[in-house]
Subunit: 642 residues, 2 copies
């Protein structure tokens, strides 16, 4: 029986040497004064399927309540104070926090406790060990994080937090099992998965709601085929204002959420190097600690002379594929023109569908190449790695998905084909995405789950299909690892592109995206609950680089929409004599709209007023307290002198 | 004789009631524990010119060394530490700062001491007084700054820091008396005038140097009348990259300066309401103190329904004046065409000169109106007042100065007239500015100075033309007050516009601006030393809103330059068949350049790498120290429990 609540699972390689395990466990259990982590660790007992080759080096990690509280103080979690403001948690005045009762049992959520333990493990540092016992090649130096070295040497296979079955049931019920129109239970999601996840679902929900007015306006345009100058301009101006305003208001909304969750003003700890980062040992100029260093110039060379050419090559390849698609398109069109039957009418959609599938496959392959290259660029920080990866993937995906549409719109100037391509691309990619992203992994996981239950049933009977802890843990070690919100945001980004870039040609896109988002919410929620290992929480205060990506897209959308309107025959009819006049007017309007957009971005504050005031009050109070303390010290000093 | 070093002068109204003076002095001299400022105050003796009606209520303020140190700690001055980093000064570890020797006599510059005393006076607050003694209408409430109330009721006429004659001589020698090519003595300027002034002179110098390559490139274009397509494009691209890069590098340069001067990471104190701010007494949501409140909606109404229409009206007026100018221009041209003589040739320049003078006058009048309106909008903070004033003035000045040039360039498309107008406007406004800004005030001050020396000589003989302290102080009370760097930056902003907006039409503009800037340095330095009262230092970390203004101008410059190139006949010759093609190409190039510009802005970091590292190290060290402290506390606590 477990004598503590297990929070984390550590899986070491099954052939890990005994001395390494003993050393690691002693370091994890050792007191903090001696440089240990003061955690509780226990080995997981053998499972039911002893006939198979099973990894026995699985450990459950927990911590005493006191240890969790001191860990929380070290991280600096922000919690609600008695006066309603958010303050950094400290053990000395723990009773002044609003929800702290008794010995603080449920003050921190399980997800937060898991984050604390992860932080403690990450900051468990080598003392005078020169290498991991039993592994002379796994070098250590004072201050090196043990966990990162074990990870990079493949001794530590994985480390993940445990799911809570009961919590998960409750969450999944309020999240997606009720078939009714309701808001996402963001606070519950945050409670179970942390801020990063909750912000993603918050954004998904916000984005969907924000698209609704656009979809509502778009429907009559599509149904009645409105094409007048004034109507187009109304739609385009609405599009512009809408894009800018929703992105700005999202900033405010996310700041409110982050304030409530205590991540808005939490100070970032000093970032450790990534596990995969390598270099020659030197001294970090910031911490003064020994650490591998890698010259920046070398990284720049790799970026500009390998990664950049590679990305350009991929873009060229994507361009070639696009050209093949256009040839297929014209071939099919000539067949249909020669002998228009129902079959050839269906055939018209085939090239677009094939192209959409090829696009998805290319995006998929490119993604791996981009990860490999960014890994090879050897970035010191996880954040810088992420930024370079996002940039690479975004540029390629943008080009891959939208190049053909740009080509059709501005080079071929064929609005009918544009509308048809846009619809086919959008619908095909939606279907493919939902299938690849949710259904397939779910199906695999379900099979695995059933097999495990089946195995257990062979030995003893199970009530209510509940697995015992040991089996549950083993089952979770086989679950897929959730790789973060990257792909989810990327999908939203591309959908946003389909809606905003050519909105005045195909206003129905918004309707399709709204529908997609509704199913996306369900499938994302479902896969979070049933397909993946529980991820560690990610104390995010905003959606990071994606805010910038969406804003850039909305700027591009202004340009494309203005150009599309300028090209429409109804607008051309207003300038019968001079095409020059038409273009000059279009360009002028576009510049004015862009300027207006920037002014709007500037005028709407990023953080809502009432939160600004709360933050200012906290800042003011801490300054006043500091002043008082200094005055006291000074008067005491003068008394001592006297 | 003075028993202390006088640092500040307080001038009260000559008819101030005795009880008010006695009360103010006692509050200023009272100990800090009792809510006083603990300063030294002495009345200034009568001057030589007793025959005239002279104000006797002039007070000199100083402070003990200990008081200055504790004040410096309260403000949080950043000073160089022994290890070379910049840290907030504290009395307890004062000996760990690099330049702290003995009792810290010259550790703080006189300007810093004056700032400390100003801060102490500003934060001298009412206790239980309900009004200023003797003035029932000058209401007070607990926490109200006394000085601000006295200022707003006209009892306190002025408060200014004293010049140091010796320092000033030394500074002016290294600053402008040596006629040799040398960099501005920025550290000395900062030492005497503070960071805001030093940053202005730093920017002026930087801007001048940055213009030099532009001027060098411009000269052959002007002399040999280069007009080819490629040459224009080279110039325009250079212009674009140059504008972006210098503005980004300036950010880095100013961050380096601000780091060295300790203002980069100094925390801003909570901003007090402006002296002129009025409203109904309520509680500030941030401080919880009693304070006048003014509803934001009311202010917004004033801004959008009074200020905005007024600005638009002024713009319309400026437009009308421009139209009159064009009529004058065509009239003169017709006279010259009928009978071209030398006289009529000279006459051609007259309308432009008159127009330039009228522009200057309109700018001058508008400035007062803008100040009045912004005052009337009743902003709570000085910073928000400044932002609204800058915005109003910038928009009008931009329109007033450049509207005619835009009209000539893009509506009339007359490049010869554009070049001529640009040159006349630029030269006339430069001459006018130098005259109004430096020569006139200097002349007035010189007269006043001579009269004072003359008066003193009547009574006793003076050696070396040095005035005794009493006379010196009285003389300084009559000096003009320096109104900040606003006008200086505005002038640079307009010059930047003349250079960058139409650079490919009149490349010589850069040469003129460089010449102007060189004289500007001298005249500005001269008037700072001899015309104005010493200003209080302004602990600025950057040039604030002007950075944004200059960046906006450089974006507009990209648009105008692209348009100008597209309109040039040499470029038109490349597209003989289709004007549409030409325009589309121009627009495409413009968009690419703008995108490139934004990427460049994004890529160049605002703070240089080595300073980022230093700041990160400080942050890391303070976090580590906090952690250690908490660990110690925790272990002590556990010992006590045992």
């Amino acid at each position: 029986m477990m004598t503590f609540t297990p929070l984390l699972v550590l899986e070491l390689a099954s052939d890990t040497k005994k001395e390494a395990i003993a050393w690691l466990l002693s370091r994890m259990r050792d007191q903090q004064q001696n440089g240990g982590a003061e955690l509780i660790v226990e080995q997981l007992g053998p499972g039911v399927s002893t006939q198979e080759k099973e990894n026995l080096n699985i450990f459950l990690v927990g911590a005493s309540r006191q240890r969790l509280l001191s860990g929380a103080e070290e991280i600096g979690f922000f919690k609600e104070f008695k006066d309603g403001s958010m303050r950094a948690f400290t053990c000395t005045n723990k009773y002044d926090f609003k929800d702290f009762k008794g010995d603080g049992d449920s003050f921190f959520s399980v997800a937060e406790c898991q984050y604390i333990i992860k932080h403690e493990l990450d900051t468990l540092r080598a003392k005078d060990e020169t290498h991991v016992p039993g592994y002379t090649q796994a070098k250590l130096y004072p201050g090196k994080s043990l966990i990162r070295r074990l990870q990079s040497k493949g001794i530590l296979i994985q480390m993940f937090p445990l799911h809570e079955k009961e919590e998960l049931k409750r969450l999944s019920f309020s999240w997606y099992k009720k078939v009714k129109l309701s808001l996402q239970p963001l606070d519950d999601i945050r409670h179970y998965y942390g801020e990063g996840q909750a912000l993603y679902f918050g954004f998904l929900q916000y984005f969907t709601f924000a698209l609704v007015p656009f979809a509502v306006i778009g429907v009559p345009y599509y149904m009645f085929d409105w094409e007048g100058y004034d109507k187009h301009v109304v739609l385009a101006v609405f599009n512009l204002v809408w894009c800018t305003v929703i992105l700005e208001l999202w900033k405010q909304f996310s700041a409110s959420l982050a304030y409530r969750w205590g991540t808005l003003s939490r100070k970032k700890a000093f970032e450790e190097p990534r596990p995969g980062f390598h270099g020659i040992l030197g001294f970090n100029p910031v911490t003064g600690r020994e650490e591998p260093l890698y010259p920046n110039t070398k990284r720049q060379l790799r970026i500009y002379f390998v990664s950049l050419p590679f990305v350009l090559l991929c873009l060229y390849l994507s361009f070639c594929v696009m050209m093949v698609y256009f040839q297929m398109e014209s071939l099919v069109l000539s067949i249909h023109d020669e002998d228009p039957t129902f079959c050839s009418g269906v055939l018209l959609f085939i090239p677009s569908i094939i192209y959409a599938v090829v696009i998805e496959i290319m995006n998929f392959i490119y993604r791996y190449a981009a990860e490999f290259l960014t890994e090879w660029e050897n970035h010191r920080l996880e954040s810088s790695y992420q930024n370079h990866l996002v940039l690479k993937v975004l540029v390629f995906n943008f080009f891959n998905c939208f190049a053909s549409l740009f080509f059709i719109a501005f080079i071929m100037q064929d609005m009918v084909l544009l509308r048809q391509s846009l619809a086919t691309l959008l619908i095909t990619s939606q279907i493919l995405n939902q299938f690849m992203e949710a259904f397939l992994p779910y199906w695999f996981q379900r099979r695995r789950n059933k097999m495990m239950i089946h195995k257990v049933r062979k030995i003893r009977t199970l009530e209510d299909k509940e697995l015992p802890l040991v089996e549950q843990v083993r089952l979770e070690t086989y679950m897929s690892t959730y790789l973060g919100t990257f792909d989810d945001y990327l999908e939203l980004f591309l959908l946003f592109g389909y809606v905003s870039l050519f909105s005045c040609v195909y206003p129905l896109a918004a309707v399709l995206v709204v529908l997609n988002n509704i199913t996306e919410v369900y499938s994302d929620a479902f896969k979070m609950c049933h397909v993946f290992k529980r991820p560690f929480t990610d104390p995010a205060a905003d959606i990071g680089v994606w805010q910038l990506a969406f804003e850039t897209m909305s700027v591009i959308a202004v340009v494309t929409n203005c150009a599309l309107i300028g090209m429409s025959p109804h607008v051309k009819a207003y300038f019968p004599d001079s095409e020059t006049q038409l273009i000059l007017w279009t360009v002028a309007v576009e510049h004015v709209l862009l300027a207006f957009k920037f002014i709007l971005t500037f005028l709407i504050p990023d953080v809502p007023k009432h939160i600004q005031i709360k933050l200012a009050r906290l800042e003011f109070e801490s300054q006043e307290a500091l002043k008082k303390k200094k005055m006291l010290e000074a008067s005491e000093l003068s008394k001592t002198i006297q």
